[in-house]
């Protein structure tokens, strides 16, 4: 794959060149927190770890129209939304890019590929900043992701002193590097990548990679889930912010003769997630829903897809108001088993 060096002082120009043909998003600091937002010329806030929101906001937006309709009982016309325009996301962490690859396995699966996701994915360029320093709640390595991972990215930037090593991972990435050729130096710096590959990741000790699925299934009915349920608020913040959670709901809204069917994020942590007409609910308790979240991520998704539905991004570690995050719960389960 093509490698180039970008001198650090030319990073801003490189970004400008990205913004030329696309809306450019990246991490920015807003009122003290770091969020992915449209950069609009602001300098990106590249910090260890991840912004509060994930790329999901731009690839499967929280709410989006599936179609609009207009008419009455006996005549209805549907209108599908306009195709998305090009976007580029700068300063993505490797785990987030891998998360897109994980979610794509489900959303792009044929024969019913999710068309709006597919279009957005095709119009999105992912420019990843490999990690020289991990965030406080990161544990990527224990779920098979590396701080220098290139999966899901178009271009990976490996930071080094005074410059970045740029690697084009996809054909789209290659064309980005070609269009930015003026700033790039064809030299290589293998050490930049090696450094990121060996970045220490703080919480890996808490999550055993070997046999995770089997170990979890073995404790699926342990009373500790009830203890977790007492603590959990059922707010679903963990799943809304998680880059690998993809559950959504469909709903209709009407104003007079016009209306819209939309899709929007949903969460298995919500109490009526699986409640059926007539009152039957296969996940009737908070404990059963928490178990579902962990088993889905670490056992059931991997059973089909061969990879975890968790990339160790650490968001749940920083956001769950009661500390019920993936690494924490796994370490608690190990503890109660001992």
């Amino acid at each position: 794959m093509t490698m180039n060096l970008l001198p650090s002082e030319r990073l801003a120009e490189f970004r400008e060149c990205l913004a030329a043909g696309a809306r450019l998003y990246g991490p920015v600091e807003v009122d003290g927190i770091v969020l992915f937002e449209e950069l609009g010329g602001r300098p990106p806030a590249i910090r260890p770890g991840n912004p509060a929101n994930s790329l999901k906001s731009f690839l499967c937006p929280q709410t989006e129209a599936v179609f609009d309709f207009e008419g009455g009982y006996t005549d209805v016309a549907l209108r599908v939304p306009a195709a998305p325009t090009a976007q580029a996301i700068f300063g993505v962490r490797p785990c987030d890019a891998v998360a897109l690859e994980r979610v794509s396995r489900v959303l792009l699966a044929e024969p019913f590929a999710d068309e709006s996701y597919r279009q957005r994915r095709e119009m999105t360029t992912i420019l990843t900043m490999a990690c020289r320093e991990a965030g406080p709640h990161c544990f990527c390595r224990s779920v098979g992701v590396s701080p220098a991972d290139g999966r899901g990215s178009d271009v990976v930037l490996y930071p080094a002193d005074g410059h970045y090593l740029l690697e084009a991972v996809t054909a789209r990435g290659l064309s980005v590097l070609q269009s930015a050729g003026a700033f790039l130096d064809p030299a290589r710096d293998e050490a930049a990548r090696a450094t990121c590959q060996s970045t220490p990741v703080p919480l890996i000790g808490a999550v055993e990679r070997e046999d995770l699925a089997a170990r979890l299934e073995a404790v699926a009915l342990h009373p500790h889930w009830d203890e977790l349920a007492r603590r959990c608020l059922g707010c679903g913040a963990c799943t809304f912010l998680c880059p690998t959670c993809y559950c959504f709901a469909l709903f209709d809204t009407v104003r007079g003769a016009r209306g819209r069917r939309s899709r929007g994020w949903d969460s298995c942590q919500f109490k009526d997630y699986s409640l059926m007409a007539g009152g039957h609910d296969p996940l009737p308790t908070k404990a059963s829903r928490i178990r579902r979240r962990f088993l889905h991520k670490l056992s059931r998704f991997p059973a089909v897809q061969g990879e975890y539905a968790c990339v160790g991004c650490g968001r749940c570690g920083g956001t769950c108001p009661v500390g019920l995050h993936l690494a924490g719960v796994l370490s608690e389960l190990e503890e109660v088993l001992r």
């Binding site: 599936v66 209805v76 549907l78 959303l107 999710d114 959504f248 709903f251 069917r261 899709r263």
Partner: protein, 272 residues
């Protein structure tokens, strides 16, 4: 094409089967609905209300309309019960796997239905009866809460019993003044009938409790798990394996089901 966008379709006819079940005959306004197999479902929707997954109870033939038997249960299904012929609905599908009919060729068939559960069975029964020569005996056992709640009466009492080598046994949980037939819950009624398990495939569909006890009864009657089929019902939103809603263990009921053999069911976690 976005799989979540339905075809606009017109309700051609509505039949009132029971106080809370109506059968809708529906035809897409544009392109024909794709060919479907017995046991498959479709997302039926009212614009402005929402969608519901409904079994296609008709049997596919070129250029025929779709039939859906809908029980009034919640928002969408209640609103459908308010609809009239000529009204527009959305329809997308067909979704899900189907009954493995070809695997049954040369065998006797036993269908055990309860309530609205006869809707998916009806499509497979009519499909098999359409290929009558390929199967042995076809025995149909059906029950509903009361005589008023029996669906598909015309077929139950007139067409199916007339088919050579077919039998229909109907029971109700509670009789009314006119009812002269058996009064029993489906599972014990089935056990009394003592169907011959040897060389027979059994298919059951109905409310969750009925399915549970029917599966147990079939086991006691000697049906091996790989010759018993049923359908699972889980809440659905997308119907196409994306929204996560209907997952059970590693399977999605909307694409990997709704038809499962009793053997497959046993390998899934008891979250249904």
């Amino acid at each position: 094409m976005n799989p979540l966008v339905p075809q606009v379709a017109t309700i051609l006819a509505i039949r009132e089967d029971t106080p809370d079940v109506r059968t809708f005959t529906v035809r897409p306004d544009g392109e024909d609905f794709p060919p479907y197999r017995p046991g498959q479902c479709a997302m039926l929707s009212l614009f402005g209300v929402g969608e519901a997954m409904i079994s296609i109870t008709s049997t596919w033939a070129p250029e025929t309309a779709l039939e859906f038997s809908v029980k009034r249960a919640g928002r969408v299904t209640s609103a459908l019960h308010q609809a009239e012929p000529g009204h527009k609905v959305g329809v997308r599908g067909p979704y899900g796997n189907s009954f493995p009919v070809d695997q049954w060729v040369g065998h006797d068939l036993l269908f055990v239905g309860g309530g609205i559960g006869l809707a998916p069975l009806r499509s497979v029964i009519n499909h098999c009866l359409g290929r009558r020569a390929e199967f042995g005996r076809v025995d149909i056992v059906y029950g509903a809460r009361s005589p008023r709640d029996l669906c598909f009466r015309q077929e139950l009492f007139e067409s199916w019993p007339k088919v050579p080598g077919a039998s229909v046994q109907v029971t109700v949980d509670a009789a009314d003044a006119e009812w002269e037939g058996p009064v029993a819950l489906v599972p014990p009624f089935l056990e009394q009938l003592k169907p011959d398990a040897a060389g027979t495939f059994a298919v059951t569909c109905g409310p969750p409790v009925m399915i549970r006890y029917t599966l147990q009864a079939l086991t006691r009657l000697g049906f091996p798990d790989d010759r018993v089929f049923t359908t699972l019902e889980l809440k659905m939103q997308c119907g196409v394996g994306k929204c996560g809603r209907c997952s059970i263990g590693p399977k999605y009921v909307c694409i990997d089901g709704p038809v499962f053999s009793a053997a497959e069911l046993k390998s899934l976690p008891a979250e249904y």
